[in-house]
């Protein structure tokens, strides 16, 4: 059976309460008549024979790239880089697609007599992956073969010996990437393209790069000019990444890009009720939903978090393509859109969203208030093509408990950012000018990033910049059910119920506003016409 397309539901009196994600829980919200709810497309039928599809992609590359086998010769230096723990979300059920691809790449390398192989988790400024996380991503066999000899490791963007400055683009953007990658005869990059922003030249130019290069596009100006950063044609972030990537290519660094797309089969049984439309839930689904909600409301947040973080998605592979970076990425993007794009007519005065427990930067961790803001105003807001779903000067209502809670190991600089920087100002431009450099070059954060499992000191700034397009565009942000102090610290307004939030929104958008709710996850991207 072919997957059904997503839909825009016009709410009437018969419409049931809508299930909102609310961190490690749910809320049921009865939306006013006349509102719209945007539902995602159903999961596309996955490829059945994944191994054959991988084999085919490696042997039949796109663009002007020869097959992988022809690129591998005895005595060469091969570097395999792969996406880190931030993808996919949630983590996929074993075996992870990265491991399956890497194993086949290594098998070809073994057949071609390649000995000098390094595998690098392309973290950029993200936290290092733990052994368990690396094992999950690449598989036990690959881990056991390479990690003990130091040939499988996390990228270190602060290792002065491990980076090569490759020059500047014609727009003055510095290009710095891993020294090992530059010295390699071939880089094979294994991507998981969960959303349209992932992959392309961003993989190497960002994933294997450091602060000196990233600051040229991870900044307020770039984010405000990216409308949105999920739409490549209108993304300044994309343009700058492409300029850096082309410089790397023109410098003679050979990249064999492998990109994969997954369907949005996000929740395994017994959580699969979360990807059903409310009126299609069976009696069992409703019992599960109610029971789960009751249990989650009663148990400590810590327990709820560990239950949710244990979810492994049954994502299915919908496409794999390999070869020259730009040719590959064009096909990949079309395949991502095929799964995610839902046509929506016209903008709305109020955009509401239920934020789940997970974003790219709190895998096996805590979603702190900055990450809540980033997930809602950075990711969900930017999941549009054409124009934003909410009109300029409109209101965004996010539902999330937004606890004043931070993971002390993963997010040390976030704590100081929240306590010091946001207490001073929430204006991204002011924050960027006044504080970024100090945090980015702080020795203690640098030490924690390199030796512990901490995000880089500058990372919370990037999360805030991620929100800057939304903050500039909308008139007000309201958080339903959030910790009032934490919400206030970020400059947002806090509401206890959705009804209160709608009442508060009328102060900004008038007495008779239109409301659109995005039913996400599973991921959807609004094609606003």
């Amino acid at each position: 059976m072919t997957a059904r397309r997503g839909l825009v539901l016009d709410v009437d009196r018969t419409t049931p309460p809508i299930v909102f994600h609310h961190g490690e829980g749910f809320r049921f919200e009865k939306l006013p008549t006349g509102s719209r709810v945007v539902y995602p497309n159903e999961p596309i039928e996955p490829i059945e024979d994944v191994d054959s599809a991988i084999r085919h992609a490696l042997a039949n590359p796109l663009g002007d790239s020869p097959p992988l086998e022809a690129l591998l010769t005895p005595g060469m230096k091969l570097t395999i880089a792969f996406d880190d723990i931030s993808l996919p979300l949630p983590q996929m059920q074993a075996p992870d697609i990265r491991g399956r691809i890497i194993e086949q790449v290594l098998d070809v390398a073994a057949a071609c007599g390649v000995d000098d192989v390094h595998l690098i988790a392309a973290l950029a400024l993200h936290r290092r992956m733990t052994e368990a996380e690396l094992r999950h991503a690449v598989g036990d066999r690959v881990y056991d073969a390479f990690a003990p000899t130091g040939q499988l490791y996390n990228f270190d963007a602060e290792d002065p010996e491990g980076l090569t400055h490759m020059g500047e683009t014609d727009h003055g953007e510095e290009v710095v990437i891993s020294k090992r990658a530059v010295e390699s005869d071939l880089i094979v990059y294994v991507n998981i393209n969960l959303v349209s922003m992932d992959g392309g030249h961003k993989s190497v130019a960002t994933g294997l790069s450091g602060y000196a290069a990233l600051r040229h596009h991870h900044n307020v100006q770039t984010m405000r000019r990216s409308k949105s950063f999920m739409d490549q044609e209108k993304s300044e972030l994309h343009t700058k990444n492409w300029r850096q990537g082309r410089l790397i290519r023109d410098a003679g660094v050979k990249i064999f890009q492998i990109e994969t797309t997954l369907n949005n089969d996000t929740f395994p049984s017994p959580w699969d009720f979360l990807q059903k439309r409310e009126w299609e839930m069976t009696g069992k689904d409703r019992v599960m939903l109610l029971g789960t909600k009751k249990v989650l409301d009663k148990i400590p947040r810590r327990s709820a978090r560990s239950i949710f973080q244990g979810i492994r998605s049954p994502f299915g592979l919908t496409s794999i393509q390999a070869g020259e970076v730009e040719a590959v990425h064009e096909v990949t993007t079309a395949n991502v859109y095929k799964q995610h794009l839902v046509r929506v007519e016209g903008q709305t005065d109020i955009l509401s969203m239920g934020l789940p427990y997970l974003g790219p930067y709190n895998v096996n961790s805590i979603m702190n208030p900055i990450l809540v803001a980033c997930l809602g105003l950075g990711y969900f807001f930017n999941l549009y093509k054409g124009k934003p779903l909410v009109r300029e000067g409109g209101v965004v209502i996010m539902s999330h408990p937004t606890p004043w809670e931070f993971h002390p190991v993963h997010h040390p600089s976030y704590i100081d950012f929240f306590e010091e920087v946001l207490a001073d100002s929430t204006d991204p431009e002011k924050i960027e000018q006044k504080y970024e450099k100090r945090y980015a070059e702080d020795e203690w954060y640098r030490h924690l990033y390199r030796t512990s499992y901490a995000y880089h000191g500058v990372h919370p700034f990037y999360m805030w910049y991620w929100c800057s397009h939304a903050l500039e565009h909308v008139g007000q942000v309201i958080v339903v059910g959030g910790d009032q102090r934490a919400v206030k610290r970020m400059g947002f307004r806090s509401a206890t119920t959705m009804r209160d939030a709608l009442e508060m929104a009328t102060d900004v958008v008038g007495r008779d506003p239109t409301l659109t709710h995005i039913h996400n996850p599973p991921v959807l991207m609004a094609d606003v016409v």
């Binding site: 059945e48 075996p95 399956r100 073994a110 000995d115 690959v142 056991d144 073969a145």
Partner: protein, 319 residues
Amino acid sequence: MTDPNRRPAISHLTDRRAKASLSRVVRKVEFPLKSAETPDGQIPLPANTGANYETDWARRYASRVTRRIALSTVGKAVIQYYASPTIRGLDRLHDLDGPAIFASNHQSHADTLVLLTSIPAPWRHKACVGAAADYFFGNRTTAAISALFIGAIPIERTSINRNTIGKAVALLRGGWSMVIYPEGGRSPDGWGQEFRPGAAFLAKQAGVPVVPVHIRGTFDILRKGHNWPKRSKAIVNFGRPLEFAEEDNNRRFTRKLQAAVESLADETATGNWFAARQRAHAEDTPGLQGPDTSTWRRRWSLTENGDDQGGSHRRWPYV
């Protein structure tokens, strides 16, 4: 007057013992309570043992439930105690759909229990074991135990028996998976033996894939010639399923299967999958059969490989 030569009466106790003797009772049982002997000159019907043993009853619902409970409780506990197996390579079975033949090297009686508790669901729940007809089905008691508790079906290893092969193929086509040991029997010395083409033949006839499996470390648990098990750590490594391709014949497929098991053995022994793949591509994978030298040197090589996991026993006497 009493006769002095008269023998004393049988004591009361002895008399009662004699009356209660089980063998005496059994001896007295006659047809139809016991089977009648074949009259001289008549050809007896084929015995329901060996390759002729009928195992259909062991695949009925009640037997399957009994087997599942026994394996998941007693079987698992016993194997955990004696072998504590580490299971690897299950991700390679991710795309396997439908029945399969699990073909493993064979070092010990413990292999079957190790495999039946290591093979993942759903194959484990609908699996039978190809067992030597002359050994496991030699009499009705061992045959019934084997059929009930490990789901054994008789396979002739000394001759080709259309009946047993036909039964195995029918089971595979009917959705049952099968555990088979292509070496035909347990290793006599810890090294492997050349694979026989049975698995290839079944794969071709039934059209099912063969999963190569390598088990390491069970030789010392219950090796050939030993009746009492010892503890030894086992590692089970599942390989990628092999399909019988059009260009294959039984011999070629058997070679492929043996090479796959050898590569798994190499991977387990060295702990380096990539190096094992490099040797496999260079056709330099160490064989299962060991060096072609004298017995003691073969044994010596085995201990050098670390395959002899007899524990902390000293191998040289103190001088």
